[in-house]
Amino acid sequence: MNFLELTLGIMTAVGGFVDISELVFAAQAGSTYGYALIWVFAFATVGIMVFGEMSGRVAAIAKQPVFSLMRHRLGLPLGMVTLLASLISNLITCAAEVGGVAIILHLLTGWAYWIMAIAAILVLIATIWILPFKWIERSYGLLGLFMLVFAVALVKLNPPWGDIGRGFVPQIPPGLSAREMTNFAYFGVAIISAVLFPYEVYFYSSGGIEEDWGEKDLLTNRITCIVGFGLGSLLAIAILSNSALLFGPVLVGPQLPGTAALQPQLAFGRTGLLLALLGMLFAVGGAAVETCLANAYSICQFFGWEWGRHKKPWEAPRFTIAWIALFIIALGIVLSGIDVITLVEFAVLFSILVLPLTYLPMLLLASDKKYMQAHQNGIVANTLGWIYFVAILLAAIAAVPLFFLTSGGQG
């Protein structure tokens, strides 16, 4: 195990953990319910650790990317439905991330939002075109570490640590009306969806194949998932806690994506603001790259086309056309005027519907001795995998009614 590689992998996972959905929902959850939703973040984080590790292990041993698995395990018709649903979900998520990048650039430079959206797409396309795969992920992940300013701000603000600690215990705040209870449940489902976004495993497992992982990489995969995602999740929890401390008491329930940057600003002044905006820029930009590539991977893996950034763009032409086209469609959605928060709400809704179909084939394959040999799921991975699958299924069933009952968490 190469410790430099491992450290970089963990730092990349930390910096790349938070995306626009987590920023929005963590900030809103904290201002609305204080620390009472921290446990949902913690619960969902263990889920992404379990399935992230599983997808990396399957990539390393069975050499199977997620969508190739789906086609074999679910059959063509259901596989096609899953493909279409995940394409829509990832595309909306990608548009939300691109819109988020444009807003942050607008707040940093003062230039018009639409100009920043076009500039963002050009830069994102250029980074994928120019950088080798490992450095695409790493550049955004490492620069996303500016997000650590949110955690440092929390320490500086000296919050009630006991209350934050109690937030890790599963709970429903006492005294909620039926309407507030429904809203609380919607936030819970949205956080599970935002942490377990399907694009994360499509990208992570395809990345494992891009980097030609094998048996020797299994330990690195496990440590990266557990430590990297765990520390990344603490960043999201810091945003939630800052929000409970700073926004809730002054009636702010952040509706504007740039509001979260005020948390470090209130602790460190203008420097805090700039660090926060830079961290958000790279974290959200990285997520835009991941969602777009995840979609291109899905299409090519499903139809058995050449794919991968380890190839020259012209050696995998359909893959190259797919990711460029997806970025352009995402830009079209952003320029159509739909606001980013609305996109985030739809991204979270569509994603939770896709999650069971994403994770079931992986769970089945990771437990299959024929493919995985000595590295099939052990009792811990299998038990956790099925517990999380049932939780995701229940969340998916509840998502649509909750979305309409609460007007997307507003009612």
Partner: protein, 114 residues
């Protein structure tokens, strides 16, 4: 099962009819107003960049405008607050913005209890 169906139907009705259906829009306006107040407070101390202040104020104003358009009737107390807010200059006094946010919060609470 039947009880569950009725409960869901009742909840749907309660969430989508009458003044209660204005709740999401009122929350949006209240929060955007509170965000605007926070921006103005910090901008007053010179702790923000010009680009950030301009961008956030414009976003808050647009949020209020969009949410106000969803209020019915347009003469409701919340709509009157929204109209008053939109008439304010970008660098409106923090205390005025906070008064509007607090008043909107009271309207929300009253609607939630109704």
């Amino acid at each position: 099962m039947r009880c569950l169906g009725i409960a869901i139907a009742l909840s749907l009705v309660s969430c989508t009819s009458g003044p209660v259906s204005d709740l999401p829009a009122i929350r949006d306006i209240r929060s955007a107003t509170a965000e605007w107040a926070l921006i103005n407070r910090e901008a007053g101390g010179g702790k923000l960049t010009k680009a950030y202040v301009r961008g956030m104020r414009a976003a808050a104003r647009k949020e209020i405008e969009d949410a106000a358009a969803a209020l019915h009737p347009s003469t409701s107390p919340a709509a009157r607050h929204a109209a008053a807010l939109l008439a304010l200059p970008d660098d409106a006094p923090v205390a005025v913005l906070r008064r509007h946010a607090a008043a909107l919060k009271h309207i929300e609470i009253a609607l939630e209890l109704s």
